[in-house]
C-alpha cells in the first residue's frame, strides 16, 4: 500500500473538490468553462495566493494577521501615488518600495506580538483599523486612477507569457505562483523556516529546544507584511483605480483560503500550496456564484462563511478520528509485542 501523508491527502481532496465544483457549475451555467473563466480566476488568484501565503506564514506560528487587507490597501495606494509622482521609476525599485512598505507594517505587528507579547488577534485587529486610517489620512480622500499609471504596470497582469492547453498564462499569475513555490520550498527545505512549524506546534518545547520563538514570530509577521505589500502592487496593476477601501475584507478571505487549504488555525501544520488551492477554491466559488442565477448576490458572503465552517468541521472531526485510530493501532501493536514475549 502506498502511504500518503495527511498533507498530500488534503491537497488531493482540495483538487478533487475544485474539479467537482467546476463540473457542477459547468452543468448549471451555460458556456461556463472557457478561456475567459481561467483568465478571470487566475487574475484574482494571483493576489489571493499571495495573501493566503502571507496569512499561512503567520498562522503556522499560532498567530493571526487581520491587518493584511489594510497593508495591501495602503501599499497599493502608496505605490500608485509614487508611480504617479515619478512615472519614470524603474520597475524593480517600485517592487522594492512595495516590499519595504509591507515589511514595515509587518514589523510593527511583529514587534507588538513577539516582543510586547500582546495576542496577535488584538494587535492586528487594532492595526487593521490604524493602517486603514493611515491610508485615509495619507490619501487625503483622493483616489489613484488608472490613466495616471504607466502602461507597463497596468499591462503587466494581462501580459500573456505562454499558452498551455488553450489557456493563457499571464504574467501576474505566473509571478504569484512562482512566489508561492519559492515560499513552499523555503518552508520545507530551509532550517530557519522549519522553526515556524516548531513554534506553532509546541511553543514551550520550542523554547526548551533552544529556538528563539520571539524572533520566529517576528519574522513571520515581517514576511506576511512583505507578501501583502507585493499583493498590493499586483492589486494596483490589476485594478488601476485605488480608493481608500482597497483590500477591504481581504483579511477574511486570506484566513478562509488558508483554513480551507488545510492550514491548522492553532498553528504547526499546513502548507502554502494548500493555502493557494484554498484561495483558488474560495475565488472559484466567489466568481461563479455571480453568474449562477439560483443564488442571490447577497448570499456570496454567507457561502464563503459556510465554506470555512465546513472545512474546519470536517478537518477537526477527521483529525480527531485519525489520532484515535492511530493511537488504537499503536496500542494493539504494543499488545502484540508484549504477547509475543518481547516484554517482561
Amino acid at each position: 500500500m502506498m502511504r500518503l501523508s495527511a498533507a498530500s491527502l488534503r491537497v488531493l481532496a482540495l483538487v478533487a473538490v475544485i474539479v467537482l465544483l467546476l463540473g457542477f457549475f459547468a452543468s448549471q451555467i451555460e458556456g461556463y468553462l472557457n478561456a475567459r473563466l481561467f483568465a478571470r480566476i487566475s487574475g484574482s488568484v494571483a493576489i489571493m495566493a499571495l495573501i493566503a501565503t502571507a496569512q499561512t506564514l503567520v498562522i503556522l506560528t499560532r498567530n493571526i494577521d487581520l491587518s493584511i487587507g489594510s497593508v495591501l490597501g495602503f501599499t497599493a495606494f502608496a505605490a500608485g501615488a509614487l508611480v504617479t509622482a515619478a512615472p519614470g521609476i524603474p520597475p524593480p525599485l517600485l517592487v522594492l518600495a512595495c516590499l519595504a512598505i509591507g515589511a514595515g507594517f509587518g514589523a510593527v505587528n511583529g514587534l507588538l506580538v513577539a516582543y510586547a507579547r500582546i495576542p496577535s488577534i488584538i494587535v492586528t485587529l487594532a492595526t487593521m483599523a490604524i493602517f486603514r486610517s493611515a491610508l485615509v489620512e495619507f490619501s487625503d480622500g483622493r483616489s489613484i486612477t488608472s490613466d495616471a499609471l504607466p502602461a507597463w504596470l497596468t499591462g503587466f497582469p494581462n501580459w500573456p507569457l505562454f499558452t498551455l492547453w488553450g489557456l493563457e498564462f499571464r504574467a501576474a499569475f505566473v509571478a504569484a505562483i512562482a512566489v508561492v513555490v519559492v515560499v513552499h520550498l523555503a518552508l520545507t527545505r530551509l532550517r530557519p523556516m522549519r522553526q515556524f512549524y516548531a513554534v506553532g506546534s509546541n511553543p514551550e518545547a520550542a523554547e526548551m529546544a533552544g529556538i528563539n520563538a520571539a524572533r520566529v514570530v517576528f519574522a513571520a509577521f515581517v514576511l506576511s507584511g512583505l507578501l501583502a505589500g507585493l499583493a498590493g502592487l499586483l492589486f494596483l496593476a490589476r485594478f488601476g483605480n485605488i480608493t481608500v477601501v482597497a483590500g477591504l475584507g481581504f483579511e477574511l478571505k486570506s484566513v478562509a483560503a488558508a483554513v480551507v487549504g488545510g492550514v491548522n488555525i492553532f498553528g504547526g501544520s499546513g502548507s502554502v500550496i494548500g493555502a493557494t488551492l484554498g484561495a483558488v477554491l474560495v475565488d472559484l466559488i466567489d466568481t461563479s456564484l455571480v453568474r449562477w442565477q439560483v443564488v442571490s448576490e447577497f448570499w456570496r458572503e454567507a457561502v464563503l462563511g459556510a465554506l470555512i465552517l465546513l472545512a474546519v468541521t470536517i478537518d477537526t472531526l477527521f483529525a480527531r478520528r485519525l489520532i484515535a485510530w492511530r493511537a488504537a493501532r499503536a496500542h494493539r501493536a504494543r499488545e502484540r509485542l508484549l504477547a509475543a514475549g518481547a516484554g517482561p
Binding site: T188, P192, Y197, N202, G210, I323, R334
Partner: protein
C-alpha cells in the same frame, strides 16, 4: 573518574521573590557517571535543572562547564555547551515527524536541510538507543517512552556532554522504565554525564553511581551509591528538623460511614482503591508525584470517572459520572490548581464564593440578588478570616492564602457532606496554612467528612486521622495517625516497604 567535572555548580543561590529556592548549592557532575539527585517536593530540584539548562540565571555562585565558568543565558546557550534535559512530560512537536523533531534545534549544520542525510542519522540515533521507530512518522501519537527517545536522540545529535533526566520514568510502564535506565547507563558508559532525578528510590539504586540528596534548596550529601541505604537517604530527604508540625488534634470520627469505596479503578491510571470514610473524619492521602492521588479525587468528583469498582454513598450504591452528580450527592472538590480549575481570578470575591450556588441567589424574576450574594460573601469573609477590605475586590489581587480561603468558601457554601481538598496549602504562607487547617478541622467537627490529598508530610500527619498512602496508582496501605511517621509514609510511598 576524571578530576575535571563536565558541569559543576559552585555556591549557587537563587530566590524568587521572598522564597529562597536554592541556597549555596554545590554539585559536581563527572563524565561517565549517572548522578542521581533526590529530594522532597520543593527541595529545589527543578530550580537546579533550570539553572543548569540556562532557563534561570543564578543570583550568586557560578556554573562551570569543563572547568570553565560560564554564563548560560537561555536554553540555546546551554545546548551549545552540550547541556540538554529531558522531562517527565516530553517536549516534542506533534506536527513534525520524528526526523524533524530530532534535528529541530541543530545548530551545527548549514541553512539547507538535507533530508536524506538527516533521515539516516535519525535512524542511527534511534538504533543507538536500542529502539525501533519509524523516523518518517509524525510525533503525534507516539508513546511517552518513544517521545523521550526522540528527545534523547535530539540531545545526542548535538554532542551532548551533560544530559539531565527529570523524573523520566514517572509516567512509564515498568518495561519502558527499565529500557530508559539501560539507556541512561549506556550513555554514561559512552562518556556523558547523566543527571538522574527520580523519586523512585529503588530505581536510584539500580541506575546511579553517585547520589546527591538536597533539602530546602541546600546540598545535604553526595555519596557513592554503595555507601547509601534507603533508610539513610529517606532520613536525609525528610530531615530531622521538621518534627515541629502542629500538634495533631484527633477528630471525633463517628461509626457512621459517609462514603465507602471498593476496588475503585480507572483503567491505566489507578486501580483497586478501597477505603471507608466515616462521618467526622479526615482521611489524608499521601504519595509522591505520579502516585495518582489527584486522579482518585477527580474520579470521586466525576471529572474523570472511575471505570471499575463501587462507591456506596450513605448506604446507597452510586455511580458518579459528572461533577453535577457528585455535587448532588453532597461531594465538593477543592482543586489543587487555584488558577486553572479553582477561581475566576478577575471576578470579585463575592462572585467567586457564590459561583457554585448561584441558583440560590435568584430573585423570583430570575435575576441575581446581589444583596443576598453580598451578605453571604461577607459572612464567609468573617468566618474564614479572608483578609480583604471589600468583597468586591478581584480575587486575583489577593495573596495565595486568601485565594485558597475564597475557594474553600465557594465549596463550603454548597454545604457538602464530603469535602475533597487537593493540596490545601500549596504555595501559601505558614500563618494561612494553620488557618486553612483549622477550617478543615472545624468542617469535620460540625459533622462533615474530609479527604485531604497532600504532598506535604507534616500536613498529612497534622490533619489526617488516618493516612492512605498511594504509589503509582496503587494503594500501599492505610496507617492510623497514631502509628504514622514521615519515614513510614515515605517508605510506603517509595515502595521501600510493602503495606503492613
Amino acid at each position: 573518574m576524571q578530576p575535571v567535572p563536565a558541569l559543576a555548580l559552585r555556591g549557587v543561590s537563587k530566590s524568587f521573590g521572598m522564597t529562597l529556592a536554592l541556597s549555596d548549592m554545590t554539585l559536581e557532575l563527572f563524565p561517565s557517571e549517572v548522578h542521581a539527585v533526590v529530594g522532597e517536593h520543593g527541595a529545589g530540584k527543578s530550580t537546579m535543572i533550570k539553572i543548569m539548562t540556562g532557563i534561570h540565571q543564578p543570583d550568586a555562585g557560578r556554573v562551570e562547564i569543563a572547568g570553565e565558568a560560564v554564563g548560560l543565558h537561555g536554553t540555546k546557550a546551554a545546548r551549545l555547551r552540550g547541556v540538554a534535559a529531558i522531562y517527565q512530560e516530553p517536549m516534542v512537536f506533534p506536527d513534525l515527524d520524528v526526523t524533524e523533531n530530532i534535528f529541530i534545534s541543530a545548530t551545527d549544520a548549514g541553512l539547507l536541510l538535507d533530508r536524506r542525510r538527516q533521515r539516516s542519522r535519525a535512524g542511527a540515533l534511534i538504533a543507538r538507543l536500542g529502539m525501533t521507530l519509524d523516523v518518517d512518522r509524525e510525533a503525534r501519537g507516539l508513546t511517552l517512552a518513544e517521545q523521550q527517545a526522540v528527545e534523547i536522540a535530539r540531545a545526542l545529535s548535538q554532542d551532548v556532554r551533560v544530559l539531565i533526566m527529570d523524573e523520566p520514568t514517572a509516567s512509564l510502564s515498568a518495561h519502558e522504565a527499565a529500557e530508559l535506565r539501560r539507556i541512561a547507563r549506556e550513555l554514561a558508559a559512552s562518556g556523558v554525564a547523566v543527571v538522574y532525578i527520580s523519586h523512585r528510590l529503588e530505581e536510584v539504586f539500580e541506575v546511579a553511581h553517585r547520589v546527591t540528596v538536597i533539602r530546602d534548596g541546600r546540598h545535604i550529601s553526595t555519596r557513592p551509591v554503595a555507601e547509601v541505604t534507603p533508610q539513610g537517604m529517606i532520613a536525609e530527604m525528610v530531615g530531622r528538623a521538621v518534627g515541629n508540625a502542629a500538634a495533631r488534634v484527633p477528630s471525633a470520627a463517628g461509626p457512621e460511614v459517609a462514603l465507602s469505596v471498593r476496588g475503585l479503578t480507572r483503567a491505566g491510571v489507578f486501580e483497586d482503591i478501597s477505603f471507608d470514610l466515616h462521618r467526622g473524619e479526615i482521611l489524608a492521602m499521601a504519595g509522591l508525584i505520579g502516585a495518582r492521588r489527584t486522579d482518585v479525587g477527580l474520579a470521586l468528583f466525576g471529572i474523570a470517572p472511575a471505570t471499575g469498582g463501587s462507591i456506596v454513598c450513605r448506604g446507597a450504591p452510586v455511580r458518579i459520572a459528572a461533577p453535577a452528580e457528585a455535587i448532588g450527592l453532597g461531594i465538593a472538590y477543592v482543586s489543587e490548581d487555584r488558577r486553572k480549575l479553582g477561581l475566576a481570578l478577575p471576578l470579585p470575591i463575592r462572585s467567586n464564593i457564590t459561583l457554585a450556588t448561584l441558583r440560590d441567589y435568584l430573585s423570583p424574576l430570575g435575576l441575581i440578588d446581589r444583596g443576598r450574594e453580598r451578605a453571604t460573601a461577607m459572612a464567609y469573609r468573617e468566618r474564614l478570616a479572608i483578609r480583604a477590605p471589600d468583597v468586591e475586590m478581584a480575587v486575583g489581587v489577593l495573596s495565595g492564602g486568601n485565594q485558597q480561603k475564597v475557594m474553600l468558601a465557594k465549596w463550603l457554601a454548597l454545604k457538602p457532606d464530603l469535602l475533597i481538598v487537593d493540596e490545601p496549602t500549596r504555595g501559601i504562607d505558614i500563618g494561612a496554612k494553620a488557618e486553612v487547617h483549622a477550617l478543615i478541622r472545624a468542617f469535620v467537627r460540625d459533622g462533615g467528612t474530609a479527604l485531604v490529598i497532600s504532598s506535604d508530610l507534616p500536613e498529612v500527619l497534622a490533619l489526617g486521622d488516618r493516612v492512605l498512602v498511594m504509589r503509582e496508582g496503587r494503594q500501599m496501605g492505610i496507617i492510623a495517625a497514631a502509628e504514622a511517621t514521615q519515614e513510614g509514609i515515605m517508605a510506603l510511598a517509595t515502595g521501600q516497604r510493602a503495606a503492613a
